[in-house]
Amino acid sequence: MYNNIIIENFTNPKNTVELTEHDFIINTGNPVCDDKISIWVKLEDNKISATRQKAYGCATSLATASIFSEYIKGKKIEDFKKNNNIEHKAIELLGELEPSQMHCYEIFSELFENLTQNITAHVL
């Protein structure tokens, strides 16, 4: 039911430690299964220097929060000006999902869109 990427990130979630400082928080969720994801973002030296994630919901959405927080960490601000082909990236990073888990591809894309908007507002 779960691919190895999801199993690893659900069992050993990344970026769970509270940040002492952050610039903004992005939130998203899925009303059908009540997934809720929050990502804390710290910007420094024109890049994302630190992230923290907190997620509630199905195992795949918890893993998605972990994967997303890891993916954006270290990303340069200028990278957000480019076309990131994020739908493709979501499939690549989350791996093959079952139909009932595929809403997490959308969650990943929504998080990225939300992040881009926040970065635009803060820096660009």
Binding site: Y2, I7, C33, Y56, C58
Partner: protein, 383 residues
């Protein structure tokens, strides 16, 4: 009745098990709970560490009187971001996730492996068969379908009834309650099927209000049931009175109180307590309800006295279902019911003070109310 040694034996001989004296039932379920405790203790590091902190090990739990010592997992732990620690099975063995969401919007997610799903489905169907003997008829579900909300515990568990009847229809679509269509369908099914109404009390109540408003009454059939799950509290805080509800069901749906049956259960557990013809909620005989002193949770109160419910459910292999709920209940002070069944009977009182008011039904009502308010706002003409 000489081989009631495992769970499947109990499930497939439920009627006979309920007829056994309570002491015998306790003896049987004690063995199952001890075996299940041993399994989780040996295979779940997080749980074993919790036990060790309380100085409980496999030698500590040997008899029925020892069950009170089994360490309990507070039910809110299932909402934690690191609830994966509760799992005895690895995620790749998990087959199904089920959830319940209260007013906080944070879901409680319980994860079941294949064996737990087998056990839970078999035991729930066994209970439905034992208390309702359904194998035909038509079910009007006053709730959304599992297609609309696939992981909500209440909907999944009540929806199983559709597999026991010949026709079924779900009266909540896109967060809207289709009361007129529900009424029309009950009329259409008249003289063709024994009609049952299934859903949370607030939606049955809403349906009755629709009938009242439109001066309509229905006379359901001799073997019809109203089967409820989801509690009597509304998200507004209002409590639906059971007595008033029963009277309204009799007046507007033509169904006697003896066939208005409430059920009680938690998404995190694998069984439902179901009402008999005397409206007494019987616990599945393999499950143990232990009612704890609200001031000292390590102590049980006497039957008949109110306390916090702890549930010891030996069905699960995916996580230890030894759960301290946030519900205030009391057990009947007799193990014998006039319906002929023996064993524990639970009476729900309320949530404990300070606990989140919430369950699937309350969340559903909130969603429907929000959708209705948004629709009204859209249709509002500014003058």
């Amino acid at each position: 009745m000489n081989k009631l040694t495992n769970l499947q034996d109990l499930i497939f001989n439920l009627e006979e098990v309920y007829n056994l004296p309570a002491e015998k039932q306790n003896e049987i379920k004690t063995q199952l709970i001890i075996e299940n405790f041993k399994y989780h203790y040996e295979n779940n590091e997080f749980y074993r560490n919790s036990c060790n902190e309380k100085k409980i090990n496999l030698n500590s739990i040997k008899t029925f009187n020892d069950l009170i010592k089994i360490p309990l997992i507070p039910v809110k732990r299932f909402k934690d971001v690191n609830s994966h620690l509760l799992l005895t099975k690895k995620l790749h063995e998990i087959e199904y996730e089920m959830r319940s969401t209260g007013t906080s919007g944070i879901p409680s997610v319980s994860r079941r492996d294949s064996k737990t799903v087998d056990n839970a489905l078999l035991s729930l169907y066994a209970m439905y068969r034992e208390f309702f003997k359904l194998s035909s008829g038509a079910s009007l579900f006053l709730m959304p379908s599992t297609e609309d909300i696939p992981e909500m515990g209440m909907i999944k568990v009540l929806g199983m009834i559709s597999g026991l009847t010949d026709a079924s229809w779900y009266a909540v679509k896109g967060n809207k309650f289709k009361a007129q269509e529900a009424y029309d369908l009950l009329e259409k099914w008249s003289h063709k099927h024994t009609r049952h109404i299934v859903g949370p009390p607030f939606l049955v109540y809403k349906f009755i209000q629709f009938l009242q408003k439109n001066n309509l009454k229905i006379k359901l059939d001799k073997g019809s049931y109203i089967i409820n799950l989801g509690g009597w509290k509304r998200f507004t805080g209002e409590q639906i009175s059971r007595k008033e509800y029963n009277d309204l069901c009799e007046e507007y749906l033509g169904i006697p109180t003896s066939n208005v049956r409430d059920t009680y259960g938690l998404v995190e557990c694998n069984s439902l307590a179901m009402e008999c013809t005397n409206n007494q909620k019987h616990i599945s005989p393999w499950v143990h309800y232990s009612v704890r002193d609200i001031n000292d949770l390590s102590q049980e109160v006497k039957p008949g006295e109110r306390g916090v419910l702890a549930i010891l459910d030996p069905i699960s292999t995916s996580y230890p279902t030894f759960i301290l709920t946030e519900d205030l209940v009391y057990l009947n002070d007799t193990d014998v019911c006039n319906c002929g069944r023996n064993g524990q009977v639970v009476n729900y009182i309320s949530r404990v003070r300070g606990a989140e008011i919430g369950c699937c039904a309350i969340n559903l009502e909130k969603q429907m109310d929000t959708a209705e308010a948004s629709e009204s706002a859209k249709n509002c003409v500014i003058v």
